[in-house]
Amino acid sequence: MNTDKVDGIIKKYGKEQSAIMSILQDIQSEYNYLPREALEQVSKKMSIPLSKIYGIATFYKVFSLTPRGRHLIKVCLGTACHVRGAPQILEEIERKIGIRAGETTGDLKFTLERVNCLGACALGPLVMINNDYYGQMTSAKVDKILKAYD
């Protein structure tokens, strides 16, 4: 891990406690997750107890403490998608890649997440893989879509 990078991020936002959310978000975009050493460094540099930072990192859903897969699958489970059958889509994806929502495959290929509304309700049920949207999903479409990612 590059300690200079983390220092740079802290410098950008300052050492006030109110900067912590932005700092953790930037670290996560840098590393795709929050590495332990990074959090320890933030704790030391900002004089915030590690237990506080760990509490924040586990409270907010956007943060991940483990490395995530190369492809991030987000299944929208907002109400509009739910009433249009999103749970079946999620189950089918879980079956196809063999992990549950919130987990990452052993080969670090996929991370599967459920999200509460991506705000594209007209297209529901909606699945987002990296930056690609797949609207009007059916469980029958899942296999073909997943195959496009390696």
Partner: protein, 618 residues
């Protein structure tokens, strides 16, 4: 080099010069490209327009304007051709050359790109004639169509920041508060507290420093009007905040924005820096002695942060855990200073009230709920989208006249409003006028304006379970009623939907609802039982079928349904057999297939792939 505006005259002059630059003879192609537009492929369409305008050398005759969401998400990507008002829908990049060569050059309407009426099937060329738009009053949201959200000049061109100029030089802070009070504006974030009154309390609260906050942590699943406002017209929200800050006496503001809204964040950041550039934010705004700056905090994906004390804890860099509000945030909020929090839509209403007057505003709506409200009409509805209507319009008008009714010839069952804190309103209340009071009387609430339409295929017990599941994950877990109460509520509902329901479950659900509404620490908890209570109130028979007959009438709850193949309809194509992930379907080619019930995992795939309607769920 952008010059700071030193007074109101500078602003007026700038507006004039912006309008002068506009070539009124030019055609304008307006393409909406909010998140839903982009999801549907608007960016490719826009690229193609740019290329094609160059290729056909039409730069002098036509202007391309990329805007935020126009609201009609169902038919995105759309292009509006001005000045004619021609409305093209569901565009693909390959449609673009024809639009230039036919519509722009020859003035011809391209039939195949037009919207067809969902009732009559008739093609409708002009936006103003489309039923979806006809019944709306888009006083707030309508501006999204007129401006490029990344251009402050566009906003100034339509009169933006004039209201700010008016309050800074013509009105005392108390007069601004009085005006907002008179307008009758109430908070659009859920509670519906009178905005002017809140501002007044905050102004009077003791303290040297005061904060204003814009809550853009739109967390209700199925509601996305705040995102669309921030994406499509960020300056209107900023202007509202600056006016509010002036009225309250604050020099520092925050926008707490949901992490899942990257485009809104980008446009807001840009808007702030543009406003700073013109001196509309920062020190001595428009040459007055009023100073105000705005900072952005990105949320972390926590629904509970929509609660004011949790949101403020999050801005301070702490876990978003609510605290008891026995001392209100108006007196002791962010960093223990008096703090005024309003949501995006509320702030966006403010400039309009100032520039057009409280009297004008108060004429819109019902006796106690003034103005318009933006709703997101989603779920089982033909015209999915964002609609802005005067308060007091009936559910029927919204769902049928604007929304076009239920697709697929299905029967309307309920509309869920108010998000996880709201409730389900049944068909017998379809003529309910929508305002704060009526929705609350019906056991639901306004919330931020999500309207999720459900049809006969939706199970109301499943819907209640869905919201409780959502909330038990989103609860901060601090207080016992919310943490333990929701978990037990979920266990009971899961039992009912899985065929383990008992008669006494209903009583337990009611008791848990009471401990939540009376005993939970914050509004997430005290309203958490609403989806359960409202479905129990209006759909008791659905609970009874699950508990007594072990049946799910809507065919949703997996453990209570059986999949089978109707012999007469099956022609043995074998598609279901091939698709079945559990290999539970057997049958010879061209012969009737059978589902092995012991193997069936009820994944619904056979039902979806069968083109002959031969799969039955009961």
């Amino acid at each position: 080099m952008i010059k700071k505006l030193k007074n109101r005259t500078d602003l007026e002059n700038l507006k004039e010069s912006i309008l002068k630059k506009k070539d009124k003879k030019k055609h304008c192609i307006i393409v909406s490209s909010g998140t839903c537009g982009q999801t549907s492929g608007s960016e490719k369409v826009i690229e193609k327009f740019k290329d094609e305008i160059k290729k056909q050398d039409m730069g002098k005759q036509v202007e391309l304007k990329v805007t935020g969401c126009h609201g009609f998400c169902e038919v995105e990507p759309v292009a509006l051709i001005q000045p004619e008002g021609i409305f093209y829908q569901k565009l693909k990049a390959e449609d673009v050359p024809e639009i230039i060569s036919e519509t722009i050059v020859k003035g011809k309407v391209i039939e195949k790109l037009l919207y067809s009426d969902t009732e009559t099937g008739k093609k409708i060329p002009y936006e103003k004639d489309i039923p979806f738009y006809k019944k709306q009053s888009r006083i707030i949201f309508g501006n999204n169509v007129l401006i490029d959200p990344t251009s402050i000049d566009d906003y100034i061109g339509i009169g933006g920041y004039e209201a700010l100029g008016k309050v800074l030089f013509k009105m005392k802070p108390e007069e601004v508060i009085e005006e907002v009070k008179k307008s009758g504006l109430r908070g659009r974030g859920g509670g519906g507290f009178p905005t002017g009154k809140k501002w007044g309390f905050c102004r009077q609260a003791e303290g040297d420093v005061r904060y204003v906050i814009c809550n853009a942590d739109e967390g209700d699943p199925g509601a996305y009007m705040d995102r669309s406002l921030l994406e499509g017209n960020p300056h209107s929200v900023l202007e509202g905040m600056i006016i509010g800050a002036y009225a309250i006496g604050s020099s520092e503001g925050y926008v707490y924005i949901r992490a899942e809204y990257p485009l809104a964040l980008k446009n807001l950041e840009k808007a702030i820096s543009q406003a700073e550039g013109y001196g509309l934010l920062g020190k001595n705004i428009l040459g007055s002695d009023f100073n105000f700056r705005v900072k952005i905090t990105r949320g972390g994906g926590a629904f509970v942060c929509g609660e004011s004390t949790a949101l403020m804890a999050s801005i301070e860099g702490r876990v978003g855990e609510p605290r008891a509000k026995y001392v209100h945030t108006i007196e002791s909020g962010l960093r223990d200073k008096p703090t005024n929090l309003n949501n995006v839509e509320t702030w966006a209403n403010v400039p309009m009230i100032i520039s057009r007057g409280a009297g004008w505003y108060a004429k819109i709506g019902t006796q106690k709920s003034k103005g318009t409200k933006i709703f997101s009409l989603v779920g089982k509805i033909k015209n999915t989208g964002l609609v802005e209507v005067p308060m007091g319009m009936t559910l029927r008008e919204i769902i049928y006249d604007i929304g076009g009714g239920i697709p697929g010839g299905k029967k309307f069952k309920a509309v869920q409003t108010g998000g996880p804190s709201g409730g389900c309103i049944p068909e017998e209340l379809i003529d309910l006028p929508v305002d704060f009071e009526r929705l609350a009387e019906a056991g639901s609430m306004m919330g931020s304006g999500g309207m999720i339409i459900m049809d006969e295929d939706n199970c109301m017990v499943d819907v209640a379970k869905y919201f409780v599941d959502f909330l038990r994950e989103e609860s901060c877990g601090k207080c016992v009623p919310c943490r333990e109460g929701l978990e037990n509520m979920y266990n009971i509902l899961a039992g009912i939907t899985e065929g383990r329901g008992k008669e006494e479950d209903i009583g337990l659900l009611k008791e848990l609802s009471e401990v939540l509404s009376e005993g939970a620490l914050c509004a997430l908890g005290t309203t958490a039982a609403n989806p359960v209570m409202s479905t129990l109130r209006y759909f008791p028979e659905e609970y009874e079928s699950h508990i007594r007959d072990k049946k799910c009438p809507a065919g949703v709850c997996k453990e209570l349904v059986l999949y089978s193949i109707i012999e007469e309809k099956c022609n043995g194509c074998g598609l279901c057999r091939k698709k079945c992930p559990a290999k539970a379907i057997s049958g010879e080619p061209k012969k009737v297939h059978v589902i092995n019930q012991a193997e069936c995992i009820k994944c619904r795939q056979c039902f979806e792939v069968c083109r002959f309607g031969a799969v039955k769920i009961e």
